[in-house]
Symmetry: C2
Subunit: 250 residues, 2 copies
Amino acid sequence: MHIQPIRTRPITAQDRDLLAILDEHVPALEEREILAVTSKIVALCQGRAVPMAEADGAQLVQQEADLFLPPGPGRHPVYLTIKGNTLMPGAGVDESNTGGYLVPWPQAPQETANQLRAYLQQRFGRRRVGVLITDSRPLPLRWGVTGFAVAHSGFLALRDYRGRGDLFGRPLRMTQANVADALAAAAVLVMGEGDEQTPLARIRDLPFVTFQERDPTPEELAALTIDPADDLYAPLLTAVPWQRGQGGSR
Amino acid sequence: MHIQPIRTRPITAQDRDLLAILDEHVPALEEREILAVTSKIVALCQGRAVPMAEADGAQLVQQEADLFLPPGPGRHPVYLTIKGNTLMPGAGVDESNTGGYLVPWPQAPQETANQLRAYLQQRFGRRRVGVLITDSRPLPLRWGVTGFAVAHSGFLALRDYRGRGDLFGRPLRMTQANVADALAAAAVLVMGEGDEQTPLARIRDLPFVTFQERDPTPEELAALTIDPADDLYAPLLTAVPWQRGQGGSR
């Protein structure tokens, strides 16, 4: 696997044309390559940035979250939230690298991923290319943030080992690998979290990825969602009084 | 960043010499490269495998866990555990790719990472090389497993953006990136979870990694640990009646 970050001009809250940014900065994409795109520049180009002077951060988080838990006394001053099958603080609302704005997740990130993939297929005359929209979050008991997949298109998010058997022919207990999240973790590490100005990355040499020449089907996407009550971590996830947010950005 | 898996002969519960395996299968390591090693082969070579016929899985998990929560009625039949700053099911006890054995984490994985790094430095005459011991786990609300770092040596686990400012000079809210976990997620993806027989990987082209010619200091390692009550996710982590395990493998 090889990941190459792409340096761009600064993308700001005034930008509106993500395809033009790709035209400007992505000179080529080969068969079986995936383009990683930070959710930040997708949201900026959608005009989603809210000037901090006008923003009510807590209200914005409640609007964006599917479920939220307000900060409690003696706790870290963050909202814990669940949004788009993702457990994270602050529903993905971000204020870094935005020049005085709060930036929520992109609107309809899955549609954006599909559109970008179709555009790149057409522009470069490729059949099998992927798009991965990334963000980062802190994980329980770990310092620092790790990248994860907000949306993907053109490849299978999971690699299925079911029925395949392990090295000794036994059925595998942990039967799937989360390809999309691992690619996002790697791409975000390479793209950076600071002033690197590299919100795009090309990922190639991916023999373990199953590419698809189409959008993920509704069934494939539904199979990625888990109700907190059905999750392996349900005892933790259902132990707190979540409040229902407005689930923006769908 | 470039990650290249290394195919090995099958490593079994009868293996005892991890250095000989490295001698056999790692032909070179350049300056500023990191060798990823699955925790599975480290534990196998330590003689940690327990034949499944003799094993009490639940007892083994309780021995291995720092904290554990037994499965409840109507829940997934797994122990949730915390071990080595990691939230995961089953305290890392694994039964895949082991030929009829249960395999817990390696004993003293940090010491092993340090020893392997020192050995590789000496063998290849390098100053700055890293070692990363990896495992994988499911994450809350995500299907499939994702790799993470069990132990690291020869480089900084976190990349610190504090005081650096973002692209627009603002202080960054999320101020550190978890380099070790992201490298592990990427390496585990490339190494695979099934019968690939690639438990090693070389990671190079890492301009964003700070290498060190020494073991992590006790202070650096202590700075990576978080008490569940102090964690960002404390409301979830402290909401269940954890029982104290025996915290094996230290």
